[in-house]
């Protein structure tokens, strides 16, 4: 605990008349629009926005109790490593998802359930590899992208790929013209692809 003593000297601490060739205002530049984790509020915003995705990925890969712990660790380590986050190189979501993936792999490894398949000879059925974790991550990122689609587009994509209906069946079931179904699906896939790319790149 770095508590030091003090004798507040407002008159000494606040003179801004000293010329260093830079306007004094520049010393208070800052928080707005800058680093997303510039302060605790930024951490809370990131948690509100991306907590459900991080938690969703953890829940698919881990039991409930461990998923809670790992979700917590993801945000704590993100906060601690925030100096290494460069907003110009990727989104907060991508960064958090990357940490989530590594944390899950660490956890599975600690549980003895993780295996490097390149080296594995006699893996047990409960063992999982990096690729499985990546697949879970992708699946939840795609699910999140689906949620964000306009309703008609989302329904068309869901019916086509999750429920595996043909375009004709979708048109019939939703009462939407076949051409519209096709363009909805194409547009939906494109949006999901773009979303997935922001997470991977």
């Amino acid at each position: 605990m770095t508590t030091l003593l003090l004798e507040p000297r407002p008159d000494r601490l606040r003179p801004r008349r000293y010329p260093v060739g830079v306007p004094a205002a520049s010393t208070t530049i800052a928080t707005a629009g800058a680093h997303p984790f510039a302060d605790a509020d930024g951490l809370r915003r990131a948690y509100d926005e991306h907590g459900p995705l991080v938690y969703g990925i953890c829940r698919k890969a881990l039991d409930e109790h461990t998923a809670n712990d790992v979700t917590q660790e993801v945000f704590i380590s993100a906060w601690r490593a925030r100096n290494r986050f460069d907003p110009s190189k990727g989104t907060v979501a991508a960064w958090l998802v990357g940490i989530t993936k590594r944390r899950i792999i660490d956890q599975l490894r600690a549980e003895g359930r993780h295996v490097d398949r390149r080296a594995a000879t006699d893996e047990r059925p409960d063992q999982v590899a990096d690729a499985d974790v990546q697949r879970t991550v992708d699946r939840m990122v795609v699910a999140e992208a689906l949620r964000a689609l306009p309703e008609r587009t989302r329904d068309a994509v869901l019916l086509a790929f999750v429920h595996e209906l043909t375009h004709h069946e979708i048109a019939e079931r939703t009462g939407t013209p076949l051409g519209t179904v096709k363009s909805d699906i194409r547009r939906g896939l494109q949006r999901i692809k773009e979303h997935l790319e922001t997470i991977h790149d």
């Binding site: 510039a38 907590g51 809670n68 689906l146």
Partner: protein, 207 residues
């Protein structure tokens, strides 16, 4: 990336992933409240242990409310000083750095240092007796901005002590605002934030 077949194969990947998705996956829910509580607890603990700074630019507002909670208060020895303008090369302010045995790292219990502000933006270590047996650690020089209650508002690193005795105050930092000089022990752990292990500290006072 603009190649048609690449686009198609990327879409194929999306389609393959979509086939993994189950309808229940769309019901993303927020984690239980206990998860956030644990995060806050850990982050508060960090703030108590060390002031934090963004080091991508080595400057950023510290973790405001969290730091305030940590009650990091500045040791002030001297009286008021409005730092006045002067020519380059002139010593326009000095800081006598002192060790606070109650809260500082004991590595600095014998340490003393006097620091001068030379011209507009050079800090010179004028006279110093500093610990040399640091193990896997270095001494680092900082300027701290304190608020009227002596809380740390922000801080900036000027560099590692030992690589020279003159340090340049980075552009944008006004020494009359970042007016408290601090020397800390920084383990070589790749963590660039202030370790919280100060050994000496003191305010710049008009020369």
């Amino acid at each position: 990336m603009t190649d048609e077949s690449t686009v198609e194969s990327e879409l194929a990947r999306v389609v393959a992933t979509l086939r993994d998705v189950e309808p229940a996956d769309l019901d993303l829910t927020a984690p239980p409240a206990s998860v956030w509580d644990g995060i806050v607890e850990a982050v508060r603990g960090d703030a108590a242990a060390a002031p934090v700074v963004d080091l991508s630019s080595r400057r950023r507002r510290a973790a405001g409310a969290l730091l305030a909670a940590a009650a990091v208060v500045v040791l002030v020895v001297a009286g008021a000083a409005v730092l006045l303008s002067s020519g380059d090369g002139d010593v326009i302010a000095r800081a006598e750095l002192a060790h606070d045995a109650a809260t500082f790292d004991e590595l600095g219990r014998e340490a003393t240092a006097r620091v001068e502000l030379v011209g507009g933006a050079t800090i010179r270590l004028a006279d110093a007796a500093l610990p040399t047996e640091l193990g896997e650690a270095d001494l680092e020089l900082w300027l701290i901005e304190a608020d009227e209650d002596g809380q740390v508002v922000d801080l900036v690193s000027l560099g590692i002590v030992g690589e020279g005795t003159e340090f340049t105050v980075p552009a944008g930092y006004d020494p009359s605002v970042y007016s408290v000089v601090d020397i800390s022990v920084e383990p070589r752990d790749g963590e660039a934030a202030h370790s919280g292990r100060s050994i000496l500290r003191g305010p710049l006072v008009e020369a």
